[in-house]
Symmetry: C2
Subunit: 251 residues, 2 copies
C-alpha cells in the first residue's frame, strides 16, 4: 500500500538525517553513514523518512534543520563538528534554534584533561555547544554526544559516527522494530506487475518493495516490511501463491 498511509496507520516515530559536507557533494567521499543509520533506525522501529545532504553553510544547514526538526520526531546530523573553518554545524544548530553558542564547562574540562599543556583554542572550539544542549553519556563512548531538543549532533567520520550508534539506540530507544522478509524470483519484473499491484493494495499493513537486479541468480528481489510478522507472512504467502513455483529461488 501507499507508504505514507501505511506509516500513518501504524503511527510510528519518524526521523530525518541531515548530512553536512562539501566533500560528499563534490564526490571526494562516498557517504556510508546514512546506510548505517537507516539500518539502525529500522531496527529501532523508527521510520527514516528523509535524508538531506547539504553544503557546509551555516544558513543552509540552519534552514534545513528548521524544517526537518519540525516535521520529524528525531533529526540526526552527520558531519561538520571538528575545529576548522569548514566545521559549522554547531553554529548552524544554534542558529536554527535561535540560541547562543556557549562553551561547555564539562567538555572544556574533558579536553584540557585529554590534551594537557598542548591545549589551544583549536581544541577548545570542540567544547562549543548551542546554549541549553544536553550532553548524552553512554558507557560505550568516551565522548558525550550533543543533543539539542530532538536533534542529535553526530560526527561525520564514519568510524566515529559508528561509535555513536549505541547512543542513539539508548536515547531514542526501541519500540516494536520493523521486520522484513525477502523472496527472490527469476520472473521478469514486467510479468508480475499485476500481481504486485493487487497484493500491495490488499496488504495495507505491509510495505512491499520490488527491486530488479543484474548479474544475479535471480531477477527480482521482493521485500516485505512491517511491524507485524503475521501480516508479513500473509503477504509473502499470497505473493508466493501468485508466482510460478519454479520462479522462486534462493539468492
Amino acid at each position: 500500500m501507499n507508504i505514507v498511509n501505511y506509516y500513518r496507520l501504524t503511527m510510528q516515530r519518524t526521523a530525518a538525517a541531515l548530512v553536512i559536507g562539501n566533500e560528499i557533494l563534490t564526490g571526494k567521499v562516498q557517504d556510508t553513514n546514512v546506510a548505517l543509520l537507516a539500518k539502525e533506525l529500522f531496527l529501532l522501529g523508527v521510520e527514516l523518512r528523509r535524508v538531506v545532504i547539504c553544503q557546509d553553510e551555516i544558513d543552509v544547514i540552519a534552514a534545513d534543520l528548521g524544517l526537518l526538526r519540525e516535521e520529524h520526531d528525531f533529526v540526526i546530523t552527520s558531519g561538520g563538528i571538528g575545529p576548522t573553518h569548514d566545521d559549522v554545524t554547531i553554529a548552524a544548530v544554534a542558529r536554527s534554534f535561535g540560541r547562543q553558542i556557549v562553551r561547555s564547562a564539562e567538555l572544556e574540562a574533558k579536553i584540557r584533561d585529554l590534551v594537557g599543556e598542548r591545549c589551544n583554542e583549536g581544541h577548545l572550539r570542540m567544547a562549543n555547544v548551542p546554549e541549553g544542549a544536553t550532553l548524552l553519556h553512554t558507557d560505550e563512548v568516551p565522548w558525550p554526544t550533543v543533543l539539542v531538543d530532538n536533534v542529535f549532533v553526530l560526527p561525520g567520520l564514519p568510524r566515529v559516527f559508528q561509535l555513536k550508534i549505541p547512543v542513539l539506540r539508548q536515547h531514542i530507544g526501541a519500540d516494536s522494530p520493523f521486520l522484513s522478509h525477502a523472496i527472490y524470483t527469476t520472473c521478469h519484473e514486467t510479468d508480475i506487475t499485476d500481481l504486485l499491484d493487487r497484493l500491495d493494495a490488499e496488504h495495507e499493513d505491509v510495505n512491499i518493495g520490488s527491486y530488479p537486479v543484474h548479474n544475479e541468480s535471480y531477477r527480482v528481489r521482493l521485500t516485505f516490511d512491517s511491524k507485524n510478522q503475521e501480516a508479513i507472512d500473509r503477504a509473502v504467502r499470497d505473493v508466493l501463491a501468485g508466482l510460478p513455483t519454479d520462479c522462486i529461488v534462493e539468492p
Copy 2:
C-alpha cells in the same frame, strides 16, 4: 571562504539530486549513485548543491522536485522508474509540472520491438512519460533518457545509472571544470585552525576543506577546489608555507 559566496562569485551552474527509494531509507541498499554523480558534475564544472533522499511517494517526490527544480539549473532524479507499484517517479514528475502522463509512441515501439509477443502492460508502463518530455539519445546508451524541462529522470540501479552518465555529460555539457588539489599532513587539525581560518578568508576564490582521518599515514587531508588553477596554487603555497615542513607527507 564561505562556499555560497564563493559559488556566487564564480557564477557557475548548479544542480541538485533527488534520490527516490525506500530501500535506501530502510537500510537495505547503500546508495552509490550520488558519489558517481557528484564526481561527474564536479568535472563538468556544475555545483551539486543539495541531495534529497525521499520515499517512493508521488506527493512527496513532486513537492521535493518542485523546490529543487526552481532553485537549481539541473535536477537529476535516481530511482523509481520501473514497472511495479513502487515505481512512481514518472507520475511524480508529471504531477510536479502539472502535466498528464502520456504513452510515448517512440518508447512503445522500442519496447514492442525488444520484447516481441511477450509484451504486456507491465512492459508498456515503461513507455509512460510526462507530457512534453524530451527523449535524449546518445550513441553509448540504447535506451533514451527522459528529460522534462531541467529534470533528468535516471534509473536507480547503479549499473544502469552509470550508463546514463555520458548522457548527462553530453546534454549538460562542460564549461570550465572544477579543479582540486590535496595535501596531506601529520599535524593535528586542532593545531592548524588559525592558519586555515586566515587563509580560507584570504583565498576567496578557493574552497579549502579540512578532513581528519583515522588509521592513515597522515592526520588531515586538506583539499583546495576552484576553477582557477593559479588560485589553487597560491592557496596551496600559502598553506604549505604555514605548516612545518616535516608535517607534509605523501598519503
